[in-house]
Symmetry: D2
Subunit: 345 residues, 4 copies
C-alpha cells in the first residue's frame, strides 16, 4: 500500500526487457544509433507530424531545456502557482534559461485561470525595459492536482498567450494519464491545440528513467542539441534510453499502463467518497487523489502499513488533514481494496 | 572491429541483471532507497574513508557539477588543453559554474606540465580584480591520450595548486583503466594524493549510464545535492542508477573489465609496433591507442569493416594520418588479431 | 510641476562642483585614488563601524550585486511583492545570482508582513532538495509606496529571517528620505537592526549617478570586488563617482536635500487631503504621494502642465484613478502650491 | 610624468562643462530625454547610417553587452589572446553571455593572425554538439599593444568570420586613437569593413565615464535595451551620460584629443628610439609605447617621479625589463621631454 508517488514504482517488464534486447554488439554513440532513429520516426507517426525528439532522463531536465528554448534570460514564463517547474525543481528553469523569471498564476484545480493569465500579462507590458518580458506559457497535463485540462481549455490559454507573442510548453510528466483520461489523440491535445514544445514523460508510468523533449515547432529545435549536451543530458550510450521510450510506445503499452493507474485512482476515489470523514478536494481525472482525512484515520492507516504523503491544504485543522494518494501502473486493485477496508474500519 | 569509442560498447551482463534484481516492489524515490544507501557505504569502504556520493548519468554532468562546486563564477579552472571539460563538453563547466573560465595548460601526453601550470597561475595574480581567480585544478586519469599520471605526478600538481589555494578535481571517466594500469589503491590515487572531488566513471567500462561525483572533502558536499537537482540530474527512480554502480563495484567487476580493455589495447599496440608504416604517438597505458597510419592502410582497414575515428595530430600529412583506436570490456582478442592481420596485410 | 520621479531631477550644485574639484591632474584608477579612500573612511564614521564600500552607478546594480552576495544560485530571496528588485529591474538579481528565485511576500503599505514572511519561509523547508533554499531577505527603506519601516519593524523581520539563517539586505535607494523621516542614526536603522548589507542611494536625491553597496558583515565583502568588476561596474576614473558621494555626505547635504523633498511631499499631501474627490492611499512618510483622483481632475492637471505617472491600484474605476506624485530636492513650494491651486480648481 | 594609463587622466573641460549645461530643470529619465535623442542622431550622422546607441559607463559593460548580443551561451567568441575581454574583464563576457567561451587566437602586435583564426575555427566544426559553436569575432582597435589594424586587415578577418556565420564586434575603447592614426572615416573602419556592433569608448580619451554600444546591424538591437537594464547599466539620469558623449563628439573634440595623445606617444617613441639601452617592442600607432629598458634606468626614472606599469614580455631578463607607457589627451610635451631627458640622463 505505497501511495507516496508514481516515482516509487519500479519499471514495467516490457521496458526492462528492451534494455537486454538492444544490448548486443556496439552501436554509434550520442544518439546516432538505430534505436534512436526509429524512436524519432515513431514519435512522428504518433503525433501525426514531424517531431524533433530529445530523450533525457528526468522531467526536470526536459522542462528546463524546453523552457530555456522558449525564453531569453530577460523573459518571463507564465505558469500555475503550483507548477512543478515553479515549486519542485529547485530553480532548474532559472538555471537553464540564464535567470528568466517564473510568474505564478492562480486557478482552481491547479489549472491556470484564463482571466488571471490575462491580468498577469497585462502587468508586464511589452517593451517596457524595467520588467521581464513574458515569453512562454507552460501548462501541466495532467496537472499537479490530478486534474486534466480539456482541449478547449488548452486552446483558450494558448490563444491568450499567442496574442502576446508567447510560445507554449506542456509539462507532460503524466501525459499518458491525461490522454487515457480524455481519450483523444496525442496531436489534438498538443500541437493542434497550440503547444509548441512538450516534456513527454515515461518515468512515472513504467520507464526506469526516460523522458523526451518533443518539438513541434521546427524553429525551436535548432539549439536544443547544444543545450542538452551542455547540460550534461546527452547520453553516450543513448540506445539504452531510446529503447525505454520505444518499448513504452510499442503496442500501446504506455496507454495501457496509464489507463490502469487511472482506474486504480477512480476505484480509490469512489471508495473514499463513501468513507466517513473523508473529503475529496476534487474529482480525480488522472492518477492522483487529494483527500482530507481525520487525523485519527491517517494514524490508523499508517500504523497498518499504508504509505502516502501529507499534503497541507487551506482548511486543514487539528482534526483533519489533507493527504495525497498516487496510484501507478503497479498498483493493484487488492491494494486499493485493503486500503479502503482499513479506511472503512 | 569497432574501435570508435568505449562508448560504443553495450552494458556488462552483470550490470543489466542488477536492474531486474532491484525492480521488485516500490522504493523510496530521489535516492532515499536502500540500494543508494548501500552504494554510499560501498564507496566509503573502497576509498578507505567517508565519501559523499552523487550518482549521475553522464561524465559531463559529473564534471560540471564537481567543478561548479570548486569555483565561483569569477574563478578559473586550470586544465590540460586537451581536457574533455575544455574541449568536448560544449561549455558545460561554464554553464554549471555561472561562467567561470577554463584555462588550458600544456604538457606532453595530455598530462599537465607542472612548470606550465605554475606559469599559468603566475599570470593570474591573486586578488587582482581584473583577472579571473584560479580556484580549481582538474586532472584526467587516465588522460585523453590514454596515458596515466603516476601518483607522484598527481601529488606534484596538487602541491602547486594547493600552494595557490586551489581545490583539485579528478576526471575519472576512465578511472578504472588507470587503476588497473597502475595497480594501486583507489585511495592512494585520489584523496591521499590531494584530490578533493572526483568524477567516477562507469559508463565507458560496462554500465548503461552511470557515473558518480565522489566528494572526499566534506566541506564541499553541502550544496551538491541542490546543484544536482537544479541541473535535472537527480533521478526519481534512483535505485536503477545506484544498482548499476553497485554491480560495477561488486566482486571487482570494474577492475576485471578495465584490465581486459587495457590488455586488448596492449595487444593492439604491440601488433601495431610491428606494423610497417605505423607510428605509435605514445606508449598506451590504458585502453586507447593513438597511431599514425599510411592513408592507404586506413582505407584498406575501413574497407574491411574496421571502424575508428580520425584524430588529426601535428605531423600528419597527405601520406599518413593519425587515428584513435579504443578498446573496451567487450573487445575480443579475435577482433584485435583480425585488425592486426588486416594491417599486416 | 514635474512629479513623475525623483529621477527626473538634475544634480545638486554641490555635487556637480565636486566633479570639477577632483579633476586636476592624474589619479590612480579603479578606486585606488584618494577620494575613494576618504569616502570609505567617511562612510565608516557615519555608520559608526567599519564599512566596506563599493560605489556603483545605479540602484539596480547595487541591489543585484548585494543580493548575489547573499544567495547561492539555488537560493531564494524573500522580498515584498512590490519590491523594486522583483518588479522593476528586469531580472537583474536573477542575472547576478545565476538564477536565484525572488519570493514575493505580501504586506500593507509595501512593508513585508512578518506573519506572511514566516509562512513563506515555512513553505520552503530547509534541506529539501526540490525547493529553492531561502537565503536572503530584502527590505526597502523608504518603501516603494513612500512608507517607512520603524526600527522595531526592521528588527522583527530580521529576527524571523535570522532564525532561518538568512542574511538581510536593505534597498536604500531612498535611504536619506527614510532617515530624514525617522530622525534616527544610520547605524540604528541598519546594522544595529540586523542589516548585513545595503544599497545606499544618492542618485534620486541629488547625485548624477551614484550609489554604493555598503557591507556591514565583513565576511560578505570578500568577493564583491570581483563581482563588481565582472559586471562592468568598476569605474576606471572612480574619483568622479566617489566625489559625488563625498559631496553628498559633506555637511549633511544628503539629509538636508532629503528633508526638503519630504517636506514638499508633506505639503502636497496636506493640500490633497483638503482636495475634493482626492483620496490618499496612505499617509506619506517620505517623498512620494499615492492618491486617487477624479479622472476629470487628472485631465485638468495634465492640461495645465502637471506631469506625473498613473499608478493603477485596486479600487480604481472609470470615475477615479490613482496616480503617484514624487517630490525631490529640486521641488519648490511654489510648484506644490500651483499644483494644489489647480487641484482646488 | 604619469604614464600608467589613459584612465589616470581626468576629464576634458568641455565635457565637464556639458554636465552643468544639461543640469537645468527636470528631464525624462532612463534615456527618454532630449540629450540622448540628439546623441543618437549625432552618432547616425557620424557613421553615415542609422545606428542604435546604448550609452554605458564602462568599456567592460559595453564589451560584455555587445558580445552577449552576438553569441548564445553555447557559443564561442574568437578573440586575440591579449584581448581585454579575455584577459582584463574578470570574466564579464562569460557572465553576460551565460557562459560562452572565449577562444584566444595568436597574432603579432596584438592583431589576430588570419591563418590562426581560420585554424581555430576549423578546430570547432559547425554542428558538432560536443564543441562550443563559434558565434562571434572581436577585434580591438587600437589594439592592446598600441597597434592599429588597417581597414584591409579588418576586412580580411571579417571575411573569414563571415564565412563561418560569425558576427563581428569591435572593441573601440581607443577607437578615437585608431581613427586619428589612420585618418579614415568612422564608417569605413567599422560597418563598411564588416563590423556589426562596437564598443565606442570615450572614458580613456577625456570623458568621466562614458562609452556606448553602437549597433550597425539592426537585427541585433532588439534585446539590448533589456540586457542593459538587467545588467544595471541603464542610468536613470541618462542625460548626464549622454551629455558627455555629445560634448565628446562636438566640434571634433574627440579626434583632437586623440590626435594629441597619439602625437605625445610619437614624440615619446621617437625619443626612446634614440635612448641608449631602450628597445621598442613595436612602432606605436596610437597612444601606447611598449619598450624594454635597462633595470637601472627604470629605477632612475621611478626615483625621479615617473610613473608607469611593468609589462613583462618574452625576452625580459635581470638586466632589462619591459614597461608600458601610455599618453593621454592631458599629457604635455613638457612631460614627455622631461621623461626623455631623464632617460637620456
Amino acid at each position: 500500500m505505497d501511495f507516496t508517488s508514481d516515482n516509487a514504482a519500479g519499471a514495467a517488464p516490457e521496458i526492462l526487457e528492451a534494455l537486454s534486447r538492444v544490448n548486443g554488439g556496439t552501436a554509434a554513440s550520442y544518439g546516432a544509433d538505430d534505436v534512436t532513429t526509429r524512436l524519432t520516426r515513431r514519435f512522428s507517426e504518433l503525433f501525426e507530424r514531424e517531431v524533433a525528439v530529445f530523450p533525457v532522463v528526468t522531467g526536470t531536465a526536459a522542462n528546463a531545456l524546453a523552457l530555456a528554448t522558449l525564453t531569453p534570460s530577460h523573459g518571463a514564463v507564465m505558469c500555475h502557482e503550483l507548477a512543478h517547474v515553479h515549486v519542485d525543481e529547485c530553480g532548474a528553469p532559472e538555471m537553464f534559461s540564464g535567470g528568466a523569471k517564473l510568474v505564478p498564476v492562480g486557478g482552481a484545480a491547479a489549472k491556470i485561470d484564463p482571466r488571471a493569465l490575462a491580468a498577469s500579462l497585462a502587468a508586464l507590458p511589452q517593451g517596457v525595459v524595467h520588467h521581464v518580458q513574458p515569453s512562454a506559457l507552460t501548462v501541466t497535463q495532467s496537472t499537479e492536482m490530478g486534474s486534466v485540462y480539456s482541449i478547449a481549455e488548452i486552446e483558450a490559454l494558448a490563444e491568450i498567450a499567442r496574442g502576446r507573442g508567447l510560445r507554449i510548453h506542456m509539462d507532460g510528466a503524466r501525459f499518458a494519464n491525461a490522454l487515457a483520461s480524455l481519450e483523444v489523440s496525442p496531436a489534438s491535445m498538443t500541437w493542434k491545440a497550440g503547444i509548441d514544445i512538450m516534456s513527454f514523460g515515461a518515468t512515472k508510468n513504467g520507464a526506469l528513467a526516460a523522458e523526451a523533449v518533443l518539438v513541434f515547432n521546427p524553429d525551436l529545435a535548432k539549439d536544443l542539441a547544444f543545450r542538452r549536451k551542455r547540460a550534461g543530458h546527452l547520453l553516450s550510450k543513448m540506445r539504452f534510453l531510446s529503447a525505454q521510450l520505444e518499448a513504452y510506445l510499442t503496442d500501446d503499452l504506455w496507454l495501457r499502463l496509464a489507463a490502469h493507474a487511472n482506474a486504480m485512482t477512480t476505484r480509490l476515489a469512489a471508495g473514499l467518497a463513501q468513507t466517513a470523514g473523508a473529503t475529496l478536494h476534487l474529482e480525480p481525472q488522472a492518477n492522483e487523489v487529494f483527500v482530507r482525512l481525520p487525523v485519527s484515520l491517517i494514524k490508523h492507516l499508517r500504523d497498518a502499513g499504508a504509505r502516502f504523503h501529507p499534503w497541507p491544504m487551506p482548511g486543514d485543522d487539528d482534526q483533519a488533514r489533507s493527504v495525497r494518494l498516487v496510484t501507478s501502473f503497479q498498483t493493484s486493485a487488492a491494494e486499493i481494496d485493503s486500503f479502503l477496508g482499513l479506511a472503512a474500519g
